[in-house]
């Protein structure tokens, strides 16, 4: 039982870490000289090895991706919090519905954010720049199944003493 609990918490925390890293780290789109992410737009200077960063474009779709990533973090944190609350308050045999619902919501938010980014990324940079998706983008997609999995586990799980 304790092992199961530990496993669930580790899964949840790893989802959270994935979400945080993919939201913050500036590697959504990369090419040799250019790195862009949700928040800034960096170019490697031609003379020096210094990245020059500018604020990302105020495109509405990019803003909605930012919003969805933040929402997913909020939901996931809330879910972890609720899990600890329910761990102590839930009656024996009860299910962690609320925790699971919030975790699934976080997963859905990440999914829609990453999907919007995939479809709309050509709106805020020239498609000729030959950019490929970076690891933050991949982490966001990896976070989705993990978040859904942990959400489903929460819903299935019954509390035992």
């Amino acid at each position: 039982m304790l092992l199961l609990l530990l496993g669930i918490i580790v899964l949840h925390v790893s989802v959270l870490v994935l979400l945080f890293v993919s939201t913050i780290v500036s590697q959504w789109l990369t090419s040799g000289v250019r790195v862009t992410d949700l928040w800034q737009n960096c170019t490697l200077g031609s003379l020096s090895d210094v990245f020059h960063c500018a604020q990302s474009s105020p495109n509405e779709w990019l803003q909605s991706v930012q919003a969805l990533m933040i929402l997913s973090i909020i939901f996931s944190v809330l879910s972890l919090f609720l899990f600890f609350c329910q761990l102590f308050t839930l009656t024996k045999g009860g299910r962690f519905y609320l925790t699971g619902i919030f975790q699934i919501l976080a997963g859905l938010c990440v999914m829609s954010g990453a999907a919007i980014f995939t479809v709309r990324q050509s709106d805020w940079h020239q498609p000729s720049e030959n950019l490929s998706f970076g690891f933050s983008y991949i982490l966001a997609w990896v976070a989705l199944p993990l978040a859904l999995l942990s959400g489903v586990i929460y819903v299935i799980l019954r509390k035992r003493e």
């Binding site: 604020q55 105020p58 509405e60 803003q63 909605s64 930012q66 919003a67 969805l68 933040i70 929402l71 909020i74 919501l105 938010c109």
Partner: protein, 247 residues
């Protein structure tokens, strides 16, 4: 001793400077305030607000002037003048029939509205107020940018999405809890009625008094549609019976 004297002299000098600044600053007496920058869309109207503060009473000789300096131009043209309680509006230039006077000098307000904006209105507008004898002071400038459509400010969509989704989730949670609460309460009352009914039935069954059953039947017939109330009455009747029986 000498150093003390010099420090005393210094402090006196400082005091003099302080007093002079405090007294002299108000001689730069009229202050004019406008926005720094203002945005408008083509075809819409924009309010160029101008307020001022003067040491003197607002005299009848007050004059308010708006100048316009187009973008990429060095010439400044006068487009509006207010003097002797009378506004004079540009009626030949580019702002012909597009300026409206909305200010009121007695409220220290010299604002104008420009209607039907065009791209050529891009430029610097200067508000100049003179309130004789209070005529020393800076003018204030506002830069107007005319856009096809005002760009969405950064963060508006972000905030709207986050706020909207969180609000939605909150509303759904509240509704779900209300429904659950109502359902539980109804369930509880039903349970109570059921248990009461069963008690009554048991008592009735034990007593099997045929004399008291007809009223119950009547009640059922009367409220044949409202089975719930019937069952209620039934249970009540049962309870009453039991009580009587006890006696």
């Amino acid at each position: 001793m000498g150093s003390q004297g010099s420090s005393g002299r210094e402090s006196v000098f400082l005091l003099a400077v302080l007093v002079s600044t405090m007294v002299l600053t108000p001689t730069l007496a009229i202050h004019v305030y406008t926005d720094r920058e203002i945005h408008g869309t083509v075809g819409s109207k924009v309010t160029l607000s101008c307020t001022f503060w003067s040491r003197e009473w607002i005299s009848d000789d007050i004059s308010i002037t708006w100048h316009f300096q187009p973008e990429y131009s060095r010439d400044s043209i006068s487009i509006f003048h207010y003097a002797k309680g009378q506004p004079y509006i540009d009626n030949v230039g580019t702002f012909k029939e597009r300026i409206e006077w909305i200010g009121d000098p007695s409220w220290k307000d010299g604002s104008i509205v420009i209607h039907n904006l065009e791209y050529t209105d891009n430029g610097t507008f200067t508000c100049d107020v003179k309130n004789p004898p209070d005529i020393v002071g800076k003018t204030s400038q506002v830069v107007l940018y005319v856009f096809e459509n005002v760009p969405v400010r950064y963060g508006v969509v972000l905030a709207a999405v986050i706020g909207g989704v969180l609000g939605l989730v909150l509303v759904i949670l509240v509704i779900a809890y209300l429904i659950r609460y109502c359902w539980l309460r109804r369930q509880a009352t039903l349970q109570r009625r059921l248990s009461a009914m069963e008690k009554g039935k048991l008592r009735l069954g034990r007593d099997s008094s045929k004399r008291r059953q007809p009223p119950v039947l009547y009640a059922m017939l009367d409220h044949s549609r409202l089975t719930k109330s019937a069952s209620e009455k039934k249970s009540k009747g049962g309870l009453g019976d039991s009580r009587k029986d006890r006696k």
